[in-house]
Amino acid sequence: MCSGYRIELLMSVWLLTGCHHASHDQAAVTTERTSNGVIASALVPGMIHGASSSDPRAAQYYENPQAVVEGKRLFSQYNCSGCHSNGGGGMGPDLMDNQWIYGDRLEQIHQTLVEGRPNGMPAWGDKIPDAQLWALAAYVRSMSLPQTIAANTGDTPSQTPAPVPREAAQDTGWSPPPGTTNDYTDVIKGPQ
């Protein structure tokens, strides 16, 4: 845990100075962390939809254009893009589609960032300030929205991601309107 604490301090230095240069500390980001009991997946045995908890801190990050812009900046600064690319994935899963292994509400994404996930997602809970984790969660949720995909794939001169709509907080899950995104992988045609 000492090593994790050092990393947090180093990050504070970056934030204060705006310096993006590497620290050469060999401190490890631990990938194991005990759960604090928050439900991490919408899939809850024996429970009906709507029964899972929500976090009041999440509310301010919906319909929040500043949060997603800040989240996009942090997504690069904290090397999220190293694994998830510009949403297309690589070492980590892609974030452009509408599949959410651990849930798509902002508090669920925040929880994933805090706790890490067993197949290699690091736990960032005690290493990144919480407000930044919420901004990152908002941007991650935004990455499958049509406007954000367009911005991230160069389809538009604007690089501004879309704010997360309030509907995305619904317990039943929410998808962008049909035909606007996520259709690409539904049908793949063979070579012509």
Partner: protein, 625 residues
């Protein structure tokens, strides 16, 4: 040519970029790369009459029909002298059996055959299967599950591959993604020892095939895209105890450089160059991993291995030659002390790891027989190096090259093309070869009958822009936005039969997709290889003519082998299962709409899902009798 380029740009400009991310981009124009004649160099003209090219008997003993190590022999010729299967009868080659590996990720391993048992290690979670070749259907003798830590998947840069194990003295020895080396009893499948070598919390994994030679096991780390510090370790084969570990960067005492270090070129002489050729402290996170092929030379009692790229990819964050990355070490096996080093790509700025295979051959050069190693590098050149001294005798391009203008054979230094330098805030277009190289890890073979080296490789180029990157332990440390594209001609792969004596290709077979499988050459006059769209093929070793092909269940990126079965007949085996860096678009959790995904490979492979699906199967082929 200029007009063509302008037209291409206009076309791209008129189509939404998001659409181009889902279609394969236009190839780089042929005029963008240098000709072989203009950048290939040798210290002397070819003298083929001075002798026959072949490995020495010490490094390639007479074929016993087994396949106990991925490279077949110390010389790494991957040549099977078996002759049952020939150009005359290969049309009758047919599957004898298939066996599901229960893992649908990239399968890069070579099946191993020893004492009539076949051993296969899979991609993560690194199952090991032992199959009894003496009984119909080759039933399972045992299966071992090493249970690597699942989080290791999250620090594996380019799929969760494994390049195979080896059998020696009753043990099957292999590595796990989470950094262990394990020796199993070949009869029971029970571990005799397991040694933890890599630390995933620092971003280290292990994907390479260990080399077992003279009672030692050589293992190196992966993780050059995560700011790790590369190393090669030697373990005692009987106990698994660490004998020595040589780092690729840092002070001489860590690199195991001492009085016996005699590099051929002046640029490699000096004290603690592994520190002084970096910005302060950068060597600690500078990469130089050892994830490719380690070779033992029984004649000169020397170990050779290539060192991977420096990190991060953004070269502007690490001015200097960045020793000892992107080069090759020769070491004393007992002490680990370095004998010589040669840097293929000083201050690499295109991700040109130096980890590809080295074939140990006796070859005529300048009128006499020389003990050389031949190495086709990611940077696009086939190097012929005197393996006693580390002197480069010749370096010739075998794929598309414009990132450099040849190798200066007086200084040994690669001559960079400033037009293809990589920069922050500016995209450099049409760099050849691409980051994964004119050729990646997939190993070549050599036939002493033809004298050709059968190089499976890529024909891919790229656009590159540097990005500022922070070091955070256990996360990617890359700093580049890369988009790959096909090389001249549009075919993305090639099998080149390279004539090392005359320094030219004898023939080239073009493939639509990059060839990410190894090759095996046989005494019957055939060369076998697989394609990423799922064809397993045999071509004539002399002419390259395609003589046979069979469609397997998934793309092939494994290493084919040839062996003699218990009945005395020749068999061919290979793993299917597409993946790896090039196959991430099929095997990985990747969205093809983002061309920068999987470190830029998706841009040039977005059509692969039309041709194949994920899989993982062992195939054995035979001539029915």
């Amino acid at each position: 040519m200029c007009r063509e380029r302008i037209l291409t740009l206009l076309l791209v400009g008129s189509v939404p970029l998001a659409a181009t991310a889902q279609t394969v981009p236009s190839p780089v124009p042929a005029a963008e790369v240098f000709t072989r004649e203009s950048i290939g160099h040798a210290l002397a003209a070819p003298t083929p009459q001075a002798g026959h090219t072949a490995p020495s008997q010490a490094n390639a003993p007479p074929d016993d029909g087994q396949w106990t190590m991925p490279s077949k022999n110390y010389a790494s010729t991957r040549f099977s002298s078996l002759q049952d299967i020939s150009p005359q009868n290969v049309a009758q080659l047919t599957p004898l059996l298939s066996f599901s590996l229960a893992v649908n990720k990239g399968q890069e391993a070579a099946p191993i055959v020893a004492d009539n048992t076949m051993f296969v290690v899979t991609a993560y979670p690194n199952y090991v299967y032992a199959l009894d070749l003496t009984r119909p259907g080759a039933p399972l003798k045992w299966r071992f599950s090493p249970k690597p830590v699942p989080a290791s998947q999250g620090v594996a840069c380019c799929d969760v591959v494994n390049r195979g194990g080896s059998v020696d003295h009753g043990k099957y020895i292999f590595n796990t993604l989470d950094g262990q080396t394990i020796a199993l009893d070949v009869n029971t499948g029970l571990p005799l020892w397991r040694t933890q070598l890599a630390n995933i919390n620092l971003g280290e994994t292990i994907t390479m095939a260990p080399l077992v030679a003279q009672g030692r096991v050589y293992v190196g780390d992966s993780g050059g895209e995560l700011g790790v510090r590369g190393w090669l370790a030697a373990l005692d084969e009987e106990t698994g105890k660490l004998l020595w570990r040589a780092y690729s960067t840092g002070p001489d005492r860590d690199v195991l450089i001492g009085p016996g270090f005699k590099p051929f070129y002046a640029a490699d002489r000096g004290t603690d160059l592994g520190v002084s050729s970096w910005p302060p402290q950068a060597w600690k996170i500078g990469g130089g991993t050892v994830w490719g092929w380690v070779t033992y030379d029984a004649e000169l009692d020397t170990v050779y291995y290539g060192v991977a790229n420096p990190g991060p990819w953004n070269q502007e964050q690490r001015p200097g030659d960045n020793k000892w990355t992107a080069g090759i070490f020769a070491r004393d096996p007992a002490s680990g002390q370095a004998r010589w080093f040669y840097q293929y790509t000083p201050h690499d700025e295109h991700d040109y790891d130096g980890v590809n295979e080295q074939l140990l051959l006796d070859m005529p050069f300048a009128g006499q027989m020389r003990k050389v190693l031949v190495h086709p590098d990611r940077n696009g050149y086939v190097y012929v190096i005197d393996r006693r001294s580390g002197q480069v005798l010749s370096a010739d391009p075998f794929g598309p090259v414009n990132s450099s203008r040849g190798v200066d054979l007086q200084t040994g230094r690669l001559i960079l093309n400033d037009d293809k330098a990589t920069r922050l805030g500016r995209t450099t277009h049409d760099i050849c070869p691409t980051a994964s190289g004119a050729k990646d890890w997939e190993p070549s073979s050599f036939s002493p009958d033809t004298g050709f080296i059968y190089i499976p490789h890529e024909n891919i180029c790229m656009d590159w822009q540097n990005l500022e990157v922070n070091y955070i332990a256990g996360t990617p440390y890359v700093g580049a936005d890369v988009h790959m594209k096909p090389g001249p001609g549009g075919h993305r792969g090639a099998l080149t039969a390279w004539d090392p004596v005359n320094r030219r290709p004898a023939w080239v077979v073009k493939e639509n997709f990059p060839i990410w499988s190894g090759t095996v050459a046989t005494g019957g006059g055939l060369v076998f290889y697989g394609t990423m769209d799922g064809w397993f093929k045999a071509v004539d070793a002399g002419t390259g003519k395609e003589l046979w092909k069979y469609k397997v269940d998934s793309g092939v990126i494994g290493q084919p082998i040839s062996y003699r079965g218990p009945d005395g007949h020749q068999y061919i085996a290979v793993l299917s299962g597409v993946g790896g860096w090039a196959g991430a678009v099929v095997a990985g959790p990747v969205d093809p709409r983002d061309g920068s995904a999987a470190l830029g490979f998706i841009n040039v492979m977005s059509d692969l899902p039309k041709y194949t699906t994920a899989g993982g199967t062992l195939y054995v082929f035979w001539l029915p009798h």
